[in-house]
């Protein structure tokens, strides 16, 4: 029963990794580049929502429904993502990935430091708004088995967000353009698709999703501390992206849940100091035996 519980806990927390993985995979799919600043900018969105909540007094007893905070965070995430696109991708050479990789690392360091300056590096209490949805924060099925209600909500929202994203990608003109650029950039350009604009839109979409994720992670953890959690979550997000298959959105979801469950089982068996070693080993197993990931295309475009 203990391991079942560990797997369920891990699966639910894996939704956090999945949300971050989606952002990486979306941008990689369209631009074939890594945005190391993705998680940093997403959490910065959550900080903006927190700042606004503190100013208008939302964070105490909520005068307004919690979704306002999520909305603010999502909008801020979108804006930040656009800025990241401008300073790291728009003007760096297209064929030289190292430049944009470095620039996003620079952005990651800068955003983290900006948050540190704004908050004095202190952890910020984030309202646990997702708990409010259920009367009891834990859904207790028995003495032995319980599920965290807020993680369940996060999980459901992650699934809904993904469905929404897939709808945008496969049912709208914008999505058509995005997929066209992702598949054959040159051909898409020849068909009159404005690649720059498509790239920018992809960034904004990923950023909105990231801002939403940042706020929900804040609400689940109950505390925000950018400079401590962003880099570890970035690493996990990247691992999830590779395991799921680069550019695959369902892959990021399944990969995220898988990594979450996997690490929690090993936490239960081997303890926290060795936990992440096994996550890395899982990645190496994938790289050795299934480098295209769970859902990736076999021939990765060069």
């Amino acid at each position: 029963m203990d391991y079942v519980q560990a797997i369920v806990d891990g699966l639910l927390f894996g939704a956090v990794y999945a949300l971050i993985g989606i952002g990486f995979t979306l941008i990689f799919g369209v631009m074939n580049k890594i945005n190391m600043a993705y998680a940093a900018a997403s959490f910065a969105g959550a900080y903006v929502s927190l700042g606004i909540a503190q100013v208008v007094g939302l964070s105490g007893d909520f005068g307004l429904p919690p979704f306002v905070m999520f909305l603010v965070s999502a909008v801020a995430g979108g804006v930040f993502a656009y800025i990241v696109y401008l300073i790291c991708f728009r003007f760096t050479p297209d064929h030289y990935e190292l430049a944009s990789l470095m620039a996003t690392i620079g952005t990651l360091l800068m955003v983290d430091e900006m948050v540190v300056q704004a908050t004095n590096g202190e952890p910020q209490n984030y309202p646990e708004v997702l708990q409010g949805i259920f009367d009891n924060p834990m859904l207790e099925f028995s003495e032995e088995f319980a599920i965290r209600g807020d993680l369940l909500t996060l999980f459901i929202v992650a699934v809904i967000a993904t469905l929404g994203l897939l709808w945008v990608l496969f049912r709208t003109k914008l999505g058509l353009a995005t997929r066209a650029v992702a598949q054959q950039r040159m051909a898409a350009q020849l068909c009159g698709i404005r690649v720059d604009r498509t790239n920018a839109t992809t960034f904004v979409i990923a950023g909105v999703l990231g801002g939403l994720a940042g706020a929900m992670i804040g609400a689940v953890v109950g505390t925000l501390l950018q400079s401590l959690v962003v880099i570890p979550l970035t690493i996990k997000g990247l691992i999830v992206t590779v395991i799921g298959g680069l550019g695959s959105i369902p892959g990021a979801i399944v990969g995220g849940l898988m990594v979450g469950a996997f690490e929690n089982v090993f936490l239960a068996i081997r303890g926290v100091t060795e936990r992440d070693m096994y996550v890395m080993l899982l990645l190496f197993v994938f790289l050795a035996f299934r480098p295209q990931g769970l859902f990736g295309r076999v021939a990765v475009r060069d």
């Binding site: 540190v116 202190e122 953890v221 505390t223 880099i231």
Partner: protein
């Protein structure tokens, strides 16, 4: 035209500035005594550096307002504080201390992080007058880095940090006396941070057993962890009377929130010294309610209140770490005056040696909440009180000295 005007303006400003500072110095002081502060002012631990710097500046203001430091030749010296950021990284800490040692500073107060202090003390000369040891000869008087036993690494390293072994020994004994029917302890430890790790394995665990408690187990997590479900579940199953957590505010809050969610029951909750700061109350005042922490600072005396108010002017909050920076400044004043530090350009190395010898010779110093005993190893035994979190502040629960 604009450029010319700018130059004129800059020139005038420069003249005015030098004029002002020159006259101010001429009025009261003959020379300047430079003291360096260093610690983390970026990253997660930024608030520590900000607090230390503020308390040092406030203490310098107090010393200067009282006429400054009486130097060896009877002249008066003005205390000037310069603070450097080491970003809590060993390499930068070493670079910063070398910069300080090659400057006009006679002593340094810092650093914040134990993982900086350890290598830093390692590059100092191990024993005084050992010609074969080429280590740096510069006195450091630490206010914050608290991991046990570090000062013995070098004869040039001194610390004014609380002795956690004493604190938890007394605390567990007190808990045993006050609630005699409590039998068991469950621990929690942040595994990958030098201080919290040391305090659980070498202090809390041992002292709890020494006080006659049974330690049922421990939950472990990492500094950057955000999910504690599995650890807390094991903690809940153990059904311990006392839960003793050695971790810093961020994970402490995450853990306490998870404990609340899973409705873990306990009689007494004990925390790590460093958690008795505003950060914990900022992050989770509600869940931390009642957590008992031994601390070497609380605004209980007139002196402590004065230090608190002084620090507030520099937006620094006085806690067990930063209050030590204030104490260090006062001790340094006393040592410099008794040893006759000259603070002249040519006497820097001699002044440093005098300060080192002075610090080494001290048996007792006056702290903010009582007398501090100093040891040969360079460590201190500081008085302490138990505080507990009540709403938005830390309230005194018990004063073992009374």
């Amino acid at each position: 035209m604009i450029v010319k005007r700018f130059y004129l303006f800059a020139g005038a400003a420069a003249v005015a500035l030098t004029g002002v500072s020159g006259t101010a110095l001429a009025q009261k002081f003959d020379r300047e005594v430079h003291i360096a502060g260093f610690g983390a002012k970026s990253g997660v631990v930024r608030s520590f550096g900000v607090n230390t710097e503020g308390m040092m500046r406030a203490a310098a203001d107090k010393i200067n307002a009282g006429g400054g430091i009486k130097l060896g030749d009877g002249k008066m010296g003005k205390v000037v504080v310069t603070f450097y950021d080491d970003r809590c990284r060993a390499e930068e800490g070493i670079s910063v201390i070398r910069r300080i040692a090659s400057g006009k500073f006679v002593v340094a107060v810092g650093p914040t992080c134990s993982n900086v202090a350890e290598p830093l003390f390692g590059i100092l000369q191990k024993t005084v007058d050992d010609k074969s040891d080429s280590g740096l000869q510069f006195p450091i008087f630490t206010d914050t880095a608290i991991k046990g036993g570090l000062a013995k690494i070098s004869a040039w390293a001194f610390r004014n940090v609380p002795n956690e072994t004493e604190m938890y020994k007394n605390l567990f004994a007190w808990v045993k006396k006050k609630w005699p029917n409590l039998k068991t302890v469950y621990g929690g430890v942040e595994e990958d941070f030098a201080h919290s790790r040391f305090t659980w394995y070498k202090v809390m665990d041992k002292q709890a057993k020494a006080a006659g408690f049974k330690v049922l187990g421990r939950a472990k997590w990492l500094l950057a962890d955000t999910n504690f479900t599995t650890q807390v579940r094991a903690m809940k199953k153990a059904k311990a009377d006392i839960i003793s957590i050695s971790s810093h505010p961020f994970t402490l809050c995450g853990l306490l929130k998870e404990m609340r969610r899973q409705r873990v029951k306990y009689k007494v909750l004990i925390g790590l010294t460093s958690s008795s700061s505003m950060e914990t109350l900022q992050g989770c005042a509600r869940q931390a309610k009642g957590i008992i922490i031994p601390t070497s600072f609380a605004p209980v005396t007139a002196a402590a209140k004065e230090a608190s108010a002084g620090g507030a002017k520099y937006k620094a909050s006085a806690d067990l770490h930063s209050a030590a920076a204030w104490e260090n400044m006062m001790v340094l004043k006393q040592v410099m005056e008794s040893k006759g530090v000259m603070a002249k350009a040519g006497t820097i190395q001699a002044d440093r040696r005098k300060i080192r010898d002075g610090l080494a010779a001290l048996k007792n110093t006056q702290g903010l909440i009582g007398s501090i005993k100093r040891h040969k190893s360079g460590e201190a035994t500081k008085p302490f009180v138990y505080v507990h979190a009540q709403g938005k502040e830390w309230k005194i629960l018990h004063d073992p000295n009374k």
